[in-house]
């Protein structure tokens, strides 16, 4: 199974994690002709609490959407981080270093200033700057598992041409967080 990618977006209800997973998977599935699955685990919808979204991207048909060894895990809350910290090593964990500072650290645990970056972007683009797009960017910054052209197309399809620009900028900001 060459070119397989497995990504988790985790945090709490309301952060748009489902959308992050959907967008990323759709970009791969529809605009790059790959196979992709996206699944969710959530509690009482949209009322806080742990939530996550899992994405699997592959060149081949996907037997099972279950992630066996996720490549990247984005953890936007401390709770989410704690659930996944034991995966570090097998997976790269990206967390919001503005929101909490984990005991554990290391090569595979990457803190990124999600909150402050978002605040900065929000000043420029208002509430159209979303943390979930930033999170996708953070993953793409480590590895371009989906092309930027595909991302633009998926933004255009889902948010319209006008908003695609903004989203690409937010995405870019995310990419920069992890590339740097």
């Amino acid at each position: 199974m060459s070119n397989d990618y497995q990504v988790i977006f985790s945090g709490e209800g309301g952060q748009g994690l489902v959308l992050a997973g959907t967008i990323l998977a759709e970009a791969a599935a529809i605009f790059e002709g790959k196979y992709a699955t996206q699944t969710v685990d959530y509690g009482i919808a949209s009322r806080g609490g742990f939530a996550m979204s899992e994405v699997k991207i592959s060149d081949e048909e996907i037997d099972c959407p279950e992630l066996i060894e996720p490549d990247y895990i984005v953890a936007l809350t401390e709770d989410a981080f704690n659930r996944f910290e034991k995966e570090a090593g097998k997976s790269v964990i990206i967390f919001d270093s503005d929101a909490f500072s984990p005991a554990l650290e290391g090569d595979n645990i990457k803190g990124c200033p999600f909150t402050t970056t978002l605040r900065r972007l929000a000043e420029e683009y208002g509430n159209k700057a979303r943390i979930n797009v930033l999170a996708i960017g953070a993953v793409l910054g480590l590895k371009e598992i989906v092309s930027l052209q595909a991302m633009r197309k998926v933004f255009e399809k889902n948010f319209g041409a006008k908003n695609a620009d903004i989203n690409m900028k937010v995405l870019q900001a995310g990419i920069e967080m992890t590339r740097s």
């Binding site: 998977a25 759709e26 699955t37 959407p65």
Partner: protein, 376 residues
Amino acid sequence: MSSELIKFGQGNEACAEGAFKAGARFYAGYPITPSSEIAEIASRRLPQLGGIYLQMEDELGSMAAIIGASASGVKSFTATSGPGFSLMQENLGVAIIGEVPCVVIDVQRSGPSTGLATKPAQADIMQARWGTHGDHAIVVLYPSTVQECFDLTVEAFNIAEMLRSPVILLTDEVVGHMREKFIIRDQVKVIDRKKPTGPVEKYLPYQPDEDGIPPMAAFGDKYRMRITSSTHGPDGFTNSNPVNARQMIERLYKKIMDRADEITYIKEYMVDDADILIVACGYTARVAKAAVKQLRNEGIKAGLFHPLTIWPFPEKQLKKAALDAEKILVPEMNLGQLVYEVERILKEKEVFGLHKSNGQPLFVREIVDKVKEVAK
């Protein structure tokens, strides 16, 4: 020019699109997690297609309304989950005895009772077969991918129309909410119910043709239509004569059971030389497939028998697939349901269950481990 559409979406969305493609133009339902997306899509798309979305006061009414609409000639469906499915059981019986085609989608969640509304389970498998009171047979289909959600919903309508019978499309929270690429196929075979053709005065709403299925007039046709929930004669009037009652009840049963092969869909993976055969459906079948691959990599000859039609259970097909297997494993997201049926059918085999009922899906590792344990 093909107007096929490639979409990336949820199982629930694919079910709805499958229904529209099959010709469904009426939806009545009452929202419930994890099925509500089907209602939401129906409420948006049906009016675009000239159809009608009705949110009823409850699931009892929802089931009743789709029966009424279908009896009026409009293909109809509803979607729900466990608690609502329980409430639909009484009127499901009306569709069965009244021979009114319709499709009921049950997206299974973790129970019993309210349980965990957002978590998956496969614990309505037996309820789908036996949930309503009294003697009956029923067709239950169970997709495992988003594409199958589309395809089997179309098929569910076709079977319903062909057999004048309700069909249950069982899915689970994982299948309903997962997103994958799927094709809204353009060229699907769509079956419509048989209409009466003879003289108006001679029409008997429950007089079967040779195939056991009575042609069905719609309310408003020149043929006078009678639908009844009582045991009835060919004319649709209550009839308690034991000979008639037996004929009626048995015909309803046989029109389905005698056609089991025709409506049976299964998938097999590496069964031919399997020492241990896994029998799994719905999302669990996908986990099982991944497990089979991994086991084969490790040199263990596992195979997968994956029924898409779970009721009538594909007895013959399973027997054939299991011919050379020594052991059988039935993993389910419940405390044991399908496993009873498999045990019953495969009398000579050692049948093991792998049961998980905690709001989580089964994991590949769990099946792999269990196969190894059992294989010993």
